[in-house]
Amino acid sequence: MKLEEYIQKNKHDFDDEKMSEKSTVSFENRLLKEFHTPEKGKLYYIKTFSMAASIAILICVGIWSYIEHSRATQEKQKLLVNLEDESVGTRLEGIYHFSDTYLKEDVQIINSLLKILHEDSNNNVKIATIDALMLFPSNEKIRRNLIEALGKEKEPLVQIKLINVLSTLREKRAQKPLKELIKSEETLPIVVNNATLAMNKFK
């Protein structure tokens, strides 16, 4: 058969608008396969995957939070232990870690620092503590304790530090301990000079 005759005989098969019967059957079969029977399975897989992913994310977040929390707790515990250590060097390491890195206004640590401010026997430790407490100048408890410490402190170098700090804070309630320091016979002249300068700033 010649090509022209074949085209003439099967001309409807070349029509773009009309699908062949075979194709229709095949198409319907594929539709069924793609959208009906497997549809539920695919959704199921998507849902399962989403749930698993969510759970995995939740677990990861939980683990991360737990690790972070325990790391923070461990850091805080280590800090608190260091602040109470017998060694001056270890106490100083603790205070410097707090003022350089930790930087949180944690009540327990602040209380520990206030205890050091009133009771520690080493001047470096006390001065470093005053610097650390000065990170929170608006904390009323810290301000009250600094004033109280000035009234009790006997070490000249720490006295000078407290005078300068309270003067920087413009803490007028410090005037009473300052007057007492100026009046006291035990106070070194260098401390009297610093106290007098601070008193003049309050006027």
Binding site: N123, N124, E185, L188
Partner: protein, 293 residues
């Protein structure tokens, strides 16, 4: 010339016979506490005894120009006129060949401070009375301390009386590798190859720290009110320095992390290498010098 030679010979003879007295105290664990304004040259060593050697003359009143002042009753009495009313100068030549009697008599070993041993603590303390304090002393001691003992050194007699203690000679500490805490009023201090941890505070004393064979390996914390802080370091030191003072000078190649200047006080954060060891320096009104070795 002959006279000079004889005098020098006599001087060396006297020096040889009247000094270099050693006292050895077995002590290798705990704290060596020194509460004295006298001059000390302390060094660490690998041993098990604290060895004290007097470097001054013994018996012929080593304290031939010790000024002792009665505690001033009021601040007004601390003026020059009243202060010098209490000076008591010992007459060395009059005492020559004699020994002071009584239990407070000078020791044969030339040591004129108390040595008290408690549990875990060896205390070396000035012999001054309750209301007296030593203002100037020409006594000088060399102390060798085991490198397994911590040192707590106060250049006063550790009493609650806040009198000023002063010795014009610089006291020193060298080759020490245990923890050191030093409290001084006006005494100058020199530390050589002391690896730390070290904490020093002083009102007006100058603090000089030199690293020659070692680098700082643990925390250094130094506070002075108006004394200078002078530190010589190898450039290979691994440090982070927080320095605060009137002015900061250096020829080291620091990485400057931050700097501020408030009311004429300079404040800087400086780093060498990765900044492993902390060094906190606060000279308030004094200057800070950081030198390259």
């Amino acid at each position: 010339m002959k006279h000079i030679f004889i005098s020098l010979l006599s001087f060396f003879f006297i020096a040889q016979t009247s000094s270099a007295q050693e006292t050895k105290i077995p002590f290798s664990k705990g704290i060596l506490k020194i509460c004295s304004s006298k001059n000390f040259k302390i060094s660490g060593y690998n041993g098990k005894e604290v060895i004290i050697k007097s470097l001054h003359k013994k018996n012929i009143s080593s304290r031939n120009f010790v000024l002792e002042f009665e505690k001033a009753r009021t601040r007004d009495s601390m003026n020059t006129k009243n202060l010098f009313g209490f000076i008591r100068s010992n007459n060395a030549s009059r005492k020559k060949g004699l020994k002071k009697l009584g239990k407070n008599s000078p020791q044969e070993n030339g040591i004129y401070f108390d040595i008290i041993e408690k549990e875990g603590e060896l205390l070396l303390q000035d012999k001054t009375g309750k209301d007296w304090f030593v203002m100037v002393s020409d006594e000088s001691y060399e102390i060798k301390v085991p490198n397994t003992v911590s040192l707590n050194w106060n250049t006063s007699k550790c009493s609650k009386n806040k009198n000023v203690f002063y010795n014009s000679k610089t006291s020193s500490l060298s080759n020490f590798s245990e923890e050191v805490t030093i409290t001084s009023t006006l005494n100058n201090l020199l530390l050589q190859d002391v690896s730390g941890p070290v904490s020093i505070n002083s009102i007006g004393g100058n603090v000089t720290v030199e690293f020659d064979k070692k680098t700082p390996s643990q925390l250094y914390s130094i506070y002075t009110n108006n004394g200078f802080i002078d530190i010589t370091l190898p450039s290979t030191s691994n440090l982070i320095v927080d320095a605060k003072g009137n002015s900061i000078f250096s020829n080291l190649d620091f990485n400057i992390l931050s700097e501020e200047e408030n009311s004429g006080v300079q404040e800087m954060k400086l780093q060498l290498k990765s900044g492993k060891v902390k060094m906190k320096l606060n000279a308030s009104l004094g200057d800070i010098y950081l030198r390259k070795k």
